[in-house]
């Protein structure tokens, strides 16, 4: 029987390993047929920004093509693509506004704490992954 997991993220892109861990947990849960709801709070609203672009690496001497480096929005898109409708993602609207992060990929929607509390009440488990 599929279960529903709600995950709250706070870290902006490229600041902490917690983001990758959260993506791994999400991917694993989706892979097992469960439903996952991601609430992106604060800096995490930038994870799905459509304008992210990969770059070459002058230290390694590699081009953009050589790097083959998915940005966080690419990971999020991949998770949506593999989720078969079982991934929901909310970007906290006030956090989006103050960061100018409103141009995001297909998949997330705007929301707020009321959405999170509704998810908490209707999920089997809630995982809060804070920033530091």
């Amino acid at each position: 029987m599929p279960k529903t997991l709600t995950v709250l993220l706070m870290d902006p892109p490229y600041e902490d390993e917690r983001t990758t861990t959260a993506f791994r947990i999400t991917d694993a849960a989706l892979g097992k047929g469960h439903n996952v709801r991601v609430f992106a709070y604060e800096g995490a609203v930038s994870l799905t920004m459509a304008d992210q672009a990969p770059h070459p690496n002058p230290v390694k001497g590699t081009s953009v093509d050589d790097e083959r480096h998915p940005t966080t929005k690419d990971w999020a898109s991949a998770l949506f693509g593999s989720a078969d409708g079982r991934l929901e993602w909310i970007n906290c609207g006030l956090c989006v506004d103050e960061r100018g992060a409103g141009n995001w990929i297909e998949g997330p929607r705007r929301g707020g704490p009321a959405d999170f509390t509704a998810w908490v009440k209707s999920s089997d488990a809630t995982l809060v992954i804070p920033t530091h």
Partner: protein, 126 residues
């Protein structure tokens, strides 16, 4: 109603930029639908200290209109019915005397944490 304990360890994380502690703010918003309580630990125990004078922020001639008053935010949370406690050992470790704290915050000893956690359906550790 789902009972949730918000454990706040990180103190003063972007509080001037945000004009809030965003975890206290989020907890306050969630208190509309969930039975919330707060435990302050580590540097966040400072939020319970009564603060009479908070310096302005003035950069390039622009002033911050609303410098955060975190002791008042804790007070406001308690006025909404959110119980706020603090880890007693962390207050002692920071040389803060209990007499400096706002009314209403309750000490919890580290040894009492398991019993405290048992009272809640969920623990959100920020």
């Amino acid at each position: 109603m789902t009972k949730v304990l918000s454990v706040l360890s990180d103190g003063y994380r972007a509080t001037v930029e945000e004009q809030d502690d965003t975890v206290l703010w989020f907890t306050s918003m969630c208190a509309k639908e969930l039975d919330m309580a707060v435990l302050l630990e580590s540097d966040a125990v400072n939020y319970a200290v009564q603060t009479d004078d908070v310096a302005d922020l003035n950069l390039g001639g622009r002033k911050a209109a609303d410098v955060p008053r975190l002791d008042r935010d804790v007070d406001a949370l308690m006025a909404k019915g959110v119980a706020v406690s603090y880890l007693a050992e962390d207050l002692i470790a920071r040389g803060i005397d209990e007499s400096r704290l706002i009314d209403g915050v309750k000490p919890v000893a580290r040894a009492e944490l398991p019993a405290l956690f048992e009272q809640f359906d969920q623990i959100w550790h920020w």
